[in-house]
Amino acid sequence: MSAAAMDAGCEPAAIGPARRRSNDRLVRSVWMIATYATCIAVALGLCAVVVSATGGSAAKVFSALLDGSVRSPGAWGLTISTATPLLGVAMGTILASKAGMTNIGQEGQLLLGAAATAYFATRLDLPGPLLITVSLLAAAVIGGLWAGLAALMKFSRKVPEVMSTLLLVYIAFQITTFGLTKKWLLLATVNKTRTNNGEPLPASGHMPVIRLFGNTVTWGVVVALAIAAIVGFVLTRTTVGFRLRMLGLNERTARRAGVSAAAFGGATLIISGMTAGLAGGLWLTGGIAGDRFTSAISSNIGWQGLLVALLARGRALLAILMAFVFAALRTGSGFLAATGVDRRIADLVQAMLVLALLIPPAVEALQNHRRGRAGAA
């Protein structure tokens, strides 16, 4: 077929395509919004059914969740502060997954990050801002080292990072539990109780807060938002981000274009460990989980951050929104006791929402796949 023949073939349709395309896009986005709404409604409906079945009132439960997360005094500040580590974890995860690396060990990286922060914040005698900076840097470094072990195993011995990052979580738990038995590591020097608690952070080791309309928000949120902005910018606007995406989508084409999987993939895995470690430091210094390190401090923040990344599907803005929603479910569940319903119902709502939000993109991908095949044929 010559170029002339192709042009001639296109001519009759030449007026239409632009308008048809914008129509197409409109139809598709309306359809997408409708699917999301339906899925969320079905998920919440199913949750209501479970609440009623266990003898509670669905309306009261949702009202309590709202009270705990945004409506009651000081609630939204608490929710934003809780969203901070979730966002930190999620952005690192997004960066790594764009490069084709699957880090699922954030819970352990976060725990070690919090431990490192506790260790330095309780030992160094530095002025406030410097103390916080140093102890947060330590958190990032240890998180990066922990993920770096997985990177090392992957690129020297081909150990899948999905396995190694996950298994390293359990080792991280063992290490911190051990640390809490030794005073020269993490155990409080003056131990009033029998439980293994860490040394309380000094006043200068707490992250300063912003006071807004009766709410207090940790400064950590600014750090998390900065991470989100940087990751978003790098991925969409820079040559490094372009190379990372290329690596994640087609490793062989990327290699031919000069992108080394070991260098770029390893670096993103380490960076995602660093953000998870940093998130642990932010979580501890934010003070919401108490003023000292305990082995329960991570309390699923790492896993939930992973879910936030999953639902954000690589988009920074969506990650900010999802981190807030997940944080709201955490803070909201604190108010459930008053309704007589088990507080774990919040976990159910969370799980249902995750499933509900995963269905529309899956449907969309399936449709694109079909359309792609029809187009190719």
Binding site: T239, N250, A257
Partner: protein, 495 residues
């Protein structure tokens, strides 16, 4: 059944075998109207097909593949005996206990033929049966087909786009174009030129398009009649003709390279090949003799265990990611989806991949520059896409190939490796690709053309090398090509 790529030959054959349902029309088998709902119905009617891409399970042996899908209990001795009987009857020489993964393409096809003949079909369809065979293997195939037809009274439908084999092996010819039958004739009355014209729908120069139709004789005749001096592109006018090329500097020098595959198999075995600036070197060979490994080597996708790759006089660490691309070796890979493009990125992004400097400043992408460059290249290479931001996935195969070509040529390479550059393309696209390769050679790029289509190699190359079992087994200049010797080299026989 003769026709260009996309003429509808395969669709028609798939209707016959029950893989596609016709919307209208009827099929008569032995005078009775039938409805072929699925391949099982087709098989009951005595219709069987040998597909272009073999459907064999590599991990199994020959007899296991042959009985695959039989509802009865497996009986190894019985199955082997049947394979041997069929193999002897048709002179196929297939060992029932051999593992399929160890067989050559020609042997695999013979296994497919046994699978097919075992059901005693009355009608056998062959879809492009010679695309991966050596000339000798093709000849053997046609003699089996003749026996099946003459001695046993079966009907054979041979689907092909190669003129010479259609003329050589058939009794009647049906020509299709754009989904219609445009001509029917008996082979005795047909000529190559006439067939080519009906197939394309316009008079064609057989010499310039011989690659597309696979008429080796035409090519060699033209070579004999007018060697080099009046090549269609007027190469004699340029300094980069085949004789001049020898005096041009060597741009690619692959020396004693050995590449070992994951299973310890030697993919390339002490292979050496050179390409001069402005020269097209054709690497002929039967599929699976190391062409893919050579392509991977020249794309920095594998590291050699020994040997060196020298580009423009500088030794390159070939295994380092991006090393050869940075040294100026462009490549149109054999499988563009594997290492030639990223389907989920946009056309504009696929047009830059390794060449980000032109569209960025201090590491930050300039989207406007990216788009402008894409529009420029889409224009220059006639790439049909909705917009520069359309995903690569949405383009047709021919246009995806043009994106790869545009990207590689616009990087001004010293060497361009074109691996099976026209596979799966139609005549127009083949013509375009051939012209682009010739033009690049005229501009001084050294071109290494890796192709299993002998005709393509013969039409385009100034020099032909033959690869067999990972080694270069022979080399000849364009003006003294000896087809017989070439055929023997392809088959791995010293000549």
């Amino acid at each position: 059944m003769l026709g260009e790529n996309g003429a509808g030959k395969s669709t028609l054959m798939k209707i016959l075998i029950g893989l596609i349902q016709p919307d209208e029309g009827s099929i008569n088998v032995h005078g009775n109207a039938v409805r072929i709902a699925d391949p099982i119905t087709a098989s009951d009617l005595g219709i069987a097909m040998v597909h272009q891409h073999y459907s064999l399970v590599e991990q199994l042996t020959v007899w296991e593949n042959v009985v695959l899908g039989e509802p009865s209990r497996l009986n190894r001795a019985d199955a082997c005996a049947r394979v041997v009987a069929l193999s002897e009857r048709y002179g196929l020489g297939v060992d029932p206990l051999a593992g399929v993964s160890r067989l050559t393409a020609g042997q695999r096809q013979r296994v497919e033929i046994i699978k097919c003949l075992r059901r005693e079909p009355r009608i056998i369809v062959f879809d492009e049966p010679t695309s991966v065979l050596t000339p000798a293997e093709s000849e053997q195939l046609f003699s089996v087909l003749r026996r099946v037809v003459i001695d046993e009274g079966r009907a054979v439908a041979l689907v092909s786009h190669k003129l010479d084999e259609i003329l050589h092996a058939t009794d009647e010819i049906t020509i299709m174009r754009r989904g219609r039958v445009v001509d029917r004739l008996t082979t005795g009355t047909a000529t190559a030129a006439g067939l080519a014209q009906s197939m394309v729908g316009r008079p064609v120069s057989l010499r310039s398009e011989a690659a597309a139709f696979g008429s080796i004789e035409t090519i060699t005749q033209s070579v004999d009649a007018a060697p080099v001096s009046d090549r269609p592109d007027g190469a004699d006018a340029s300094p980069a003709g085949p004789h001049a090329a020898a005096e041009m500097p060597v741009v690619l020098d692959v020396r004693n390279i050995t590449v070992i595959g994951v299973d310890g198999h030697r993919l390339l075995d002490d292979l050496s090949i050179t390409v001069h600036a402005g020269e097209i070197v054709g690497l002929a060979g039967v599929e699976g003799n190391g062409q893919r490994a050579l392509g991977d080597l020249l794309a920095s996708l594998v590291a050699p265990v020994s040997g060196s790759v020298v580009v423009g006089g500088k030794a390159i660490n070939a295994g380092r990611p991006g090393a050869l691309s940075a040294a100026g070796v462009g490549i149109i890979p054999e499988d563009r989806h594997d290492s030639g493009c990223v389907l989920d990125l946009s056309v504009a992004e696929n047009l830059v991949l390794a060449d980000l400097d032109k569209v960025s400043r201090r590491g930050v992408l300039n989207r406007r520059a990216l788009e402008a460059r894409a529009i420029e290249l889409m224009d220059a290479f006639d790439i049909q896409a909705r917009s520069p931001h359309a995903p690569m996935r949405s383009l047709s195969g021919g246009n995806q190939q043009r994106v790869v070509l545009a990207r590689e040529l616009s990087a001004h390479p010293r060497v361009l490796v074109a691996a099976q550059p026209t596979r799966g393309l139609d005549v127009g696209a083949i013509e375009y690709m051939s012209e682009r390769l010739r033009r690049a050679a005229r501009d001084g790029v050294g071109i290494l053309l890796i192709s299993t289509e002998l005709e393509e190699v013969l039409t385009l190359s100034d020099r032909v090398c033959v690869i067999h079992a990972g080694r270069i087994v022979g080399e000849m200049r364009r003006d003294d090509i000896d087809l017989e010797r070439l055929g023997m080299l392809l088959g791995g026989m010293a000549a």
